[in-house]
C-alpha cells in the first residue's frame, strides 16, 4: 500500500464574512490524477492555496509524505515538493519567460545567476509541451498572448520537479491542440510518479484524465469517488439541485422587443468586423476561449477600449462611445468580471457602492444622499429588494460575500435604469446558492425590457442562462446559436478545430 503524497484532513478556513471551507478532506497518491471538481466559488482554489502555504488554515491538518506540516509560507510548500499552477496568472509581466519560470530559484553558478543555463532549461521545459518554437525564453511576458502566458505558467510548475502538482483550470485559455499537449504532459508526469491534483469543471477533461474525483460544493465535500463516474453524477454533485430550477426560464417571443444595440462592422486593434444586434428583453451569452475578444468587445461597447471603426447604434442613435461616462449616460451599464479590481470600492460602505454611478453622473456639489437618480433611502430600498445581506448598509462592503457584493453592483446600475446591461463573468467567485439568485435577477431585468449581454467563461452558465449564444474566436464573431445548443458545438466553434475527444 503506497502512502498518499499529500493528505488534507478536516480543513476549515474562514474569511471575513464567508466560511470558505468546512472540514474538507482530500488526498492524492503518487502517480494518480485526482480531479477536484466544483462550481466557481465552491472552495477549490482556497483549498489549494492552503496546500501551497498561501493561506493559513483555521482548522485541520495537512500531511505531506506522512508528516504533518504547517506551511506558513509558500516557500515551505515548494520545498516540500508541492507546485501550483494558479488560475489567475501569477506571472510578472515585466520579466522574461525564463525569469518567470525560475522565479525565486534561478539556476546559479558560483552564486551568480547563470542566464545561459536558465534560458536553456526554460527552453527544455517549454519543449516538453511543444511550445519551444513559439515562446522564446528571453521574451518579456507582457509581449506574449494569453495562451502562451498560460503555457509559461504551466512550465513554471512543471520545472519544479515537484512530487505534487496542482493544476487550477489550466486549459481555460488553450485551444484543442494545446490542450492535447497538456494532457500528454499530464500522462508523462503521472508515469513519473507525480501526484496531480487537477481542478476543473469540464467533464471532458475529468473523463480523459482523472483516476479519482472529489466534488466540492459550498466549501464542503459534496461527493468523493474512487473511480470516474458518469458525468451526470458529477454534475449533480456539483450543482446539488435540479438544473431546470437553477436557471430562470428563457424569454418568450413576446418578451423580446425592439433592437436596443446594433453593431455593424465594428472593430479595433483587438476586434475584427463585429456585427450583431441585441434586443430588449433578451439575454445574449458570449462564449469563447480566454483572449477570444469577448471582454474586449464588452469594453468597446462600454467605451472603455473604444471601437476605432464601424457603426454602433443604441436605440437608433449613434453610440460609438470613447469613454465609459458617455456610455453610461446613454444607458449602458457594465458589471466587470474582476469585481475587486474593477467594480468595488472596498473601503466604502455598501450603500456608497450602490450609489457610486448615480453620484458620478450628478452634479459634484449636489447632495450625496439625494442624487437625481436615487436618494440614499431609495438605494437602501433597492438593496433590500435585491436581498443584499449585510449587517447594515453603512458597513464596509469588503466584509460581504461575493454574491452580495455583486448584487450591490447590480443595484448601482439599476438606480440608473439602463437600456443595456453587460455582465462579465456574472457569477465568478459567488456561492452556488447565490448564483441562482443572480440568474433570476438577470432574467427579471430582461423582463422589464433591459437588453442583457452576458460574457462568461463558464460554458454551462452561458448555455443555461442565455436566450441566444454568440461565439467569438480571435477577435471575431464566428458563430451564433439559439438556446439549447450542445456544449460540444459551442466548444467546436470557439476553438475552430475538430473536437478530439468530446
Amino acid at each position: 500500500m503506497i502512502s498518499p503524497a499529500i493528505e488534507m484532513r478536516g480543513i476549515t478556513k474562514s474569511f471575513p464574512g464567508v466560511k470558505a471551507l468546512k472540514s474538507v478532506s482530500f488526498s492524492a497518491y503518487p502517480g494518480e490524477v485526482h480531479a477536484l471538481a466544483g462550481e466557481n466559488g465552491a472552495g477549490k482554489s482556497t483549498l489549494m492555496k492552503i496546500l501551497s502555504g498561501v493561506y493559513r488554515l483555521d482548522g485541520g491538518a495537512v500531511v505531506v509524505g506522512g508528516e504533518e506540516r504547517h506551511f506558513s509560507h509558500p516557500l515551505e510548500a515548494i520545498r516540500a515538493g508541492i507546485a501550483v499552477i494558479y488560475q489567475e496568472f501569477s506571472l510578472l509581466p515585466e520579466r522574461t519567460v525564463a525569469q518567470n519560470i525560475f522565479l525565486g530559484r534561478e539556476p546559479t553558478r558560483l552564486g551568480l545567476i547563470d542566464h545561459k543555463a536558465m534560458n536553456a532549461e526554460a527552453r527544455r521545459v517549454l519543449a516538453l509541451f511543444g511550445s519551444a518554437h513559439r515562446i522564446e525564453p528571453d521574451t518579456v511576458v507582457a509581449d506574449l498572448d494569453v495562451a502562451s502566458q498560460q503555457l509559461v505558467e504551466i512550465a513554471k510548475a512543471v520545472s519544479l520537479d515537484a512530487k505534487v502538482i496542482v493544476m487550477d483550470e489550466p486549459t481555460a485559455a488553450l485551444n484543442e491542440a494545446e490542450c492535447e499537449v497538456l494532457f500528454g504532459l499530464v500522462d508523462t508526469l503521472k508515469k513519473r510518479g507525480v501526484a496531480i491534483v487537477y481542478i476543473t469543471h469540464r467533464m471532458r477533461e475529468i473523463t480523459r484524465l482523472a483516476d479519482r474525483v472529489t466534488v466540492l460544493k459550498d466549501g464542503e465535500t459534496a461527493a468523493s469517488f474512487d473511480h470516474v463516474p458518469e458525468p451526470d453524477t458529477i454534475v449533480r454533485a456539483m450543482v446539488g439541485r435540479d438544473i431546470g430550477d437553477f436557471y430562470a426560464a428563457p424569454a418568450t417571443p413576446q418578451e423580446i422587443g425592439e433592437v436596443v444595440l446594433s453593431v455593424r462592422h465594428a472593430g479595433n486593434e483587438r476586434l475584427k468586423d463585429i456585427s450583431f444586434e441585441l434586443r430588449a428583453g433578451e439575454i445574449v451569452g458570449f462564449a469563447g476561449l480566454q483572449g477570444a475578444g469577448r471582454v474586449a468587445l464588452a469594453q468597446a461597447i462600454f467605451g472603455f477600449a473604444p471601437f476605432t471603426e464601424g457603426e454602433v447604434e443604441l436605440a437608433g442613435k449613434p453610440a460609438r462611445f470613447t469613454n465609459p461616462r458617455d456610455a453610461i449616460r446613454a444607458g449602458i451599464g457594465l458589471l466587470p468580471g474582476d469585481r475587486k479590481a474593477e467594480g468595488l470600492v472596498l473601503m466604502q460602505s455598501v450603500s456608497d457602492n450602490g450609489l457610486l454611478t448615480a453620484r458620478a453622473l450628478s452634479g459634484l456639489a449636489g447632495k450625496a444622499d439625494a442624487t437625481p437618480f436615487a436618494s440614499a433611502e431609495e438605494m437602501d430600498k433597492l438593496l433590500h429588494e435585491l436581498d443584499v445581506r449585510a449587517g447594515s448598509f453603512s458597513q464596509e462592503i469588503k466584509a460581504l460575500s461575493g454574491g452580495n457584493q455583486q448584487k450591490a453592483i447590480v443595484a448601482r446600475w439599476l438606480a440608473l435604469a439602463p437600456r443595456l446591461l453587460i455582465f462579465i463573468e456574472p457569477t465568478r467567485g459567488i456561492d452556488v446558492n447565490a448564483k441562482a439568485g443572480i440568474y433570476h435577477l438577470m432574467r427579471d431585468l430582461a423582463r422589464k425590457g433591459t437588453a442583457i449581454m452576458m460574457v462568461s467563461s463558464d460554458l454551462p452558465e452561458v448555455l443555461g442562462a442565455a436566450d441566444r449564444i454568440l461565439v467569438m474566436r480571435a477577435g471575431e464573431l464566428v458563430a451564433a446559436f439559439p438556446r439549447g445548443v450542445s456544449e460540444a458545438d459551442v466548444m467546436l466553434a470557439a476553438t475552430g478545430e475538430e473536437a478530439v475527444a468530446a
Partner: protein, 333 residues
C-alpha cells in the same frame, strides 16, 4: 505602495462582528494633550491661552483640511508649503505697501492658487506623473518662482488690512473675551470643507477614486475632473493658510518650508489612509491641533527642539501602526 493582499489575509475567526465605536481616537488624544497642557500651564484655560493656541494652529489646520482631499483621492500634495511662501512673498510684491490694494491682491493670490492646483491636477491626470513627483516638481518650481518674482526678498510690508485675517482679535465678546479672526476663518473654511467632503457627491467620488480608481472610472466617475478639484482645493487651502501665516507673523521668505510634511502628518494622525480611500476633514483638523498641541506641550515642559523631532517621528509611526492594527482587527485585509 506595498500592500500584501493574499499574504495578510490572516482574518481571525471573529472577523464578522466586533465593530469598534465610531469615534476617531485622534479626538481622545487631542483631549488628553489639552489636559496635559493645562496641567503644565494652568494659564492655558484663560482665553489668551487657548485662543492663542487655536490662532496658531489655524493655518496648519486649514492646510490639513485641504491636504486630506488629495490624500483621500490617493495622492499627495507636496507643493502646499511653496504655495504658502508664494502667497506671502507675492502679496508683499503686489501690495507694494499700499493698504488699499488688499481687496484685489487676495483674489489674485487665490487665482494663482487655483492655477497651481489645476496644473498639479492636469499633470497627474493627463501626463500620468505620480503626484509625489508632480507636486515635488511644483514645490521646487514655485519656491524658485517666489524668489524670482521678488528678486530674492519681499518687496513690501504686509499692511494691516492684509494682516487682519491672521493677526486681529475681535475684542469684547462675552464669555471668551475675544475671538481671533484666524479662528473664525478656520471655522468657516472647516465647515465648508467638511460639507464638501462629507455631504456632497464630490466627497464620495473622491473616496471612490482613492479607493479604486479603476472601479470609479468604470462606474462613470470623471476621474480627471475630480482629481483636479482635489488639487485645487488643496492649493486654495494653502493660499488661505498663507494669508493667515503672513497675517500672523508678517513678511518673510521661507514661511512655508516644511508645512507640506506637517500637513500630511496631521492627516495621518487624523487616521487618513495614505494612497486613498479613507479620511475625514474634522479628524484631519484634530490631527493638526494635536500636532500643534504636542509642540506646545513640549515647549511648556521645556523639552528642546531635538526631542520634538523625535517625538513627531515616533508619533507619526505609532499613529499608522495603530491605524493598521485597528483595521486588521476590524477584519479584512
Amino acid at each position: 505602495m506595498i500592500q500584501e493582499t493574499v499574504g495578510s489575509a490572516k482574518a481571525p475567526g471573529a472577523a464578522r462582528g466586533g465593530r469598534l465605536p465610531k469615534i476617531n481616537p485622534v479626538f481622545f488624544v487631542l483631549a488628553a494633550l489639552l489636559v496635559a497642557i493645562t496641567l503644565s500651564n494652568p494659564n492655558f484655560v484663560e482665553p489668551t491661552g487657548y485662543m492663542n493656541f487655536l490662532k496658531r494652529a489655524a493655518p496648519l489646520a486649514i492646510l490639513a483640511a485641504g491636504q486630506i482631499y488629495v490624500i483621500v483621492s490617493g495622492g499627495f500634495d507636496l507643493s502646499v508649503g511653496s504655495v504658502i511662501t508664494l502667497t506671502v512673498v507675492g502679496s508683499s510684491v503686489l501690495l507694494n505697501n499700499n493698504a488699499d490694494a488688499t481687496w484685489w491682491v487676495i483674489p489674485v493670490m487665490y487665482a494663482v492658487g487655483l492655477a497651481v492646483g489645476v496644473v498639479n491636477g492636469l499633470v497627474v491626470s493627463y501626463l500620468r506623473v505620480p503626484s509625489l513627483i508632480a507636486t515635488l516638481g511644483m514645490m521646487i518650481t514655485l519656491n524658485g518662482a517666489a524668489f524670482m518674482w521678488s528678486s530674492g526678498s519681499p518687496r513690501g510690508y504686509l499692511p494691516e488690512t492684509f494682516r487682519f485675517f491672521g493677526r486681529t482679535n475681535i475684542q469684547g465678546i462675552p464669555l471668551i473675551q475675544f475671538l481671533p479672526v484666524a479662528l473664525l476663518v478656520l471655522i468657516v473654511v472647516g465647515l465648508c470643507l467638511f460639507w464638501l467632503m462629507h455631504r456632497t457627491n464630490l466627497g464620495r467620488l473622491l473616496h471612490a477614486i482613492g479607493d479604486n480608481p479603476r472601479a470609479a472610472q468604470m462606474s462613470g466617475v470623471p476621474l480627471e475632473r475630480v482629481r483636479i478639484i482635489a488639487f485645487v482645493i488643496s492649493s486654495l487651502s494653502a493660499v488661505t493658510a498663507g494669508i493667515l501665516l503672513g497675517g500672523f507673523a508678517g513678511v518673510s521668505t521661507d514661511v512655508g518650508v516644511g508645512y507640506e510634511l506637517q500637513a500630511i502628518t496631521a492627516c495621518v494622525i487624523g487616521g487618513a489612509q495614505l494612497l486613498g480611500g479613507r479620511g475625514s476633514v474634522p479628524a484631519s483638523i484634530a490631527g493638526a491641533l494635536t500636532l500643534t498641541a504636542i509642540f506646545t506641550l513640549l515647549n511648556f515642559i521645556g523639552l528642546p527642539k531635538p526631542v520634538r523631532d523625535v517625538v513627531q517621528g515616533v508619533i507619526l509611526i505609532v499613529a499608522v501602526v495603530l491605524a493598521t492594527y485597528r483595521r486588521n482587527r476590524a477584519g479584512g485585509t
